[in-house]
Assembly symmetry: C2
Homo-oligomer: 195 residues x 2
DNA sequence: GTCTATACTAAGATAGAC
DNA sequence: GTCTATCTTAGTATAGAC
């Protein structure tokens, strides 16, 4: 992928973020060097600084973009329905969205501690905003009597942990299709909340 | 914690592992230097090499000890009972054991990719051995008709992810006691498996 | 067993030529 | 916009004195 001198600003920027995402997910933020990222893109290390202020900004931009996309995609899916219908939609959406972006998901969950404090604050707010979407569904369902929950907040955390866990083992060439996985998890989630 | 020259082999070894555990959990393996660990112990960096072959061995030893302890503790708790009773015992045990060792748990789940291949193999076997304990309980319960499960393997993964997730948010000075958390999670697990 | 000192390697980031 | 070259800092690990 060696590249000669030339002008490529329109494409190199995204390539840098893509390379950083792949490498951060595989080896971890702290273990990846700017030189590795540059080699993946096909430029010298110094050239990266035309596209990012520093290494920390690469991490922050990747996480922010991921969470912005997550929230936007969910709000596009979430239509006014019953709590049970919305919970099924959330379950399927969460699994499908995360399986489509394994690298971004891995980074979002594993690299929080490598964010500088002010960046962490921003990301935490976005993460909690998404979490609150599920919490509201569960609360609505509990209030309407559709769900039986011992604790709305803990159910929120339990369901998200359960669903996100799919990304750690799912393989496209594995035993089960995505749709089958979604169905099985919905079965367990539905029963767990007493729907 | 500065220390003068002297002989402390009986105590310094565990101190090194403790310091490594604390720092790896807080900042991540790759982000922690041998100098930081040495400073935490109160010795110079070179002195660490009297207690560990290298940095990788520190990580491996911590993970191996944790998983050995986990399996030993579980087998001590697991007495012959019905699948439902065993599942409740597992749920409570898993939460309690993990909440007692937040640093070791964090490392065990976050630093797998920083293990060298041969070390990773050893740890993976131990992790799967523990996972199989839960899978066997669920299979027994399904076979006996006590549980209603869409998929035993996925239920195993879902329950472990759900329970392990507790370590990411639980605080001893929070809203709920450990016992209350254990009860709430058991309620959700029990319903999810149709017991 | 620990110290000081250091060999060796590599990191993030910048300067100036092209 | 990218290159080469380099500054500065810091990493793992080892050697030899005490």
């Amino acid at each position: 992928m060696a590249r000669k001198t030339g002008s490529h600003s329109e494409i190199t920027g995204p390539l840098v973020l893509n390379a950083a995402q792949t490498l951060f997910a595989r080896h971890g933020y702290a273990a990846v060097s700017m030189r590795q990222i540059a080699a993946e893109v096909g430029v010298q290390a110094g050239a990266l600084y035309n596209y990012t202020r520093d290494k920390q900004s690469l991490l922050f931009d990747l996480m922010k973009t991921h969470l912005d996309d997550l929230f936007a995609a969910w709000t596009a899916v979430d239509k006014g329905q019953t709590p049970t219908e919305r919970l099924e939609a959330f379950t399927r959406f969460h699994i499908a969205f995360h399986l489509d972006r394994p690298d971004a998901v891995f980074i979002a969950y594993m690299e929080l501690r490598n964010l500088e404090p002010q960046n962490f604050e921003v990301i935490e707010v976005l993460r909690k905003t998404y979490e609150t979407e599920l919490e509201n569904i569960l609360r609505d369902g509990k209030d309407s009597g559709e769900f039986t929950l011992p604790d709305t907040k803990l159910a929120t955390l339990a369901v998200i942990a359960m669903l996100t866990g799919v990304t750690t083992w799912y393989r496209d060439d594995g035993r089960l299709s995505r749709d089958r996985v979604e169905r099985i998890y919905w079965n367990m989630v539905r029963k767990a909340v007493g729907a």
